[in-house]
Symmetry: C2
Subunit: 207 residues, 2 copies
């Protein structure tokens, strides 16, 4: 199974594993069995073993997986072994929450630039990042920023996406509920909070 293409669903789980392993690493644990990790994360042990086996032999039978080795490898697969700079567009309520959130750092992300069209917001400093005018977005190219977060109203999302692509961004995290169209080589992940909330009642038991 080695050297296979990693299934999308497994890729989706890798950040979960990574967060758990980083936590264990901080506690100075050296290795862990798939069963213990399974109990810790609430994921079946065989699924963990299968996922890990997609990218090579890392476990030692009778012992488990070397945590540091695994962290390094998962980071490499997710391309998180190098840090990434992120540009945020839209410093409204959600955008400010993103700017203030320290939790992106464990994955090596640095929200290094922020833009807004509202002149009243330009110049404000949030978490050491100065909010620039949206017209400055083109200058991104020099900054080694390769990811963008869209937190503007839906009807502005497409034009911002176009601008980000033009500025050389390789991936976009989109919070707006609008579909955005980009060149095939650019990956877009959309988080639509209202939509996720909307499928919650479906699963409610009425009892």
């Amino acid at each position: 199974m080695r050297y296979c293409k990693i299934p999308d669903e497994a890729v989706r789980r890798l950040p979960i594993y990574l967060r758990g392993l980083l936590f264990l690493s901080e506690q100075s644990k050296k290795s862990i069995s798939s069963q213990s990790l399974a109990d810790f994360l609430g994921i079946n042990s065989w699924l963990i073993r299968k996922d890990f086996s997609y990218f090579g032999d890392f476990g030692t039978p009778g012992v488990g997986y070397n945590i540091e080795k695994l962290i390094k490898h998962i980071k490499k697969i997710l391309k998180l072994h190098v840090g990434h700079k992120v540009a945020l567009v839209g410093t409204g309520n959600l955008g400010r929450a993103v700017l203030a959130y320290p939790g992106f750092r464990i994955y090596g992300f640095d929200v290094a630039a922020a833009f807004d069209s509202d002149p009243k917001k330009n110049g404000r400093k949030i978490n050491n990042v100065v909010v620039e005018n949206i017209s400055k977005l083109g200058r991104l190219k020099k900054g080694k920023i390769d990811l963008g977060i869209i937190a503007v109203p839906g009807d502005a999302a497409q034009e911002i996406a176009d601008a980000l692509v033009k500025a050389g961004i390789k991936g976009i995290l989109n919070f707006s509920p609008y579909r955005i169209i980009v060149p095939k080589k650019i990956k877009v992940i959309t988080i639509d909070i209202a939509m996720d909330l909307a499928r919650l009642p479906y699963y409610m038991r009425s009892n």
Copy 2:
């Protein structure tokens, strides 16, 4: 295929359809073909037809689907035909963004209560909702609130989840990156923004 169980993946798409249909309805459109809807939403037409066919015959060959009828039916399936009141716990950056967001209303949600443990935040009014002390969470039962949103730091998420369940909540939207354990009949949907961002670099083309 009528009266079949609807696959989870189809349920995940229903809110997308619903949003699109509500938009078209506002434009006074009466009916739409699966192909036009497909172009509009960026989803394949046969997938739309298959999803709709899970819950009955609604289309008219040669014409398409009646928009109002479809909206009503999708709402019923998602149990959105009755409005839902939502309790928010944690009025930090993300919580405040949720409170201020008007977009939940199209799905019939009303964020009707907010709680925080920080006394400095208690009593503040955000978007017509007064932030109450977390100790008041138990009183929820009288308020017909059936959904909860967790926007507290990860290490407090489990205790809040327990409190929400005790207060009679039927479903939880969890923004914290921690796993929370609840009785089987309670549905939890977790949105982990950092994790979604973390799998973006994987898809980056290095060209």
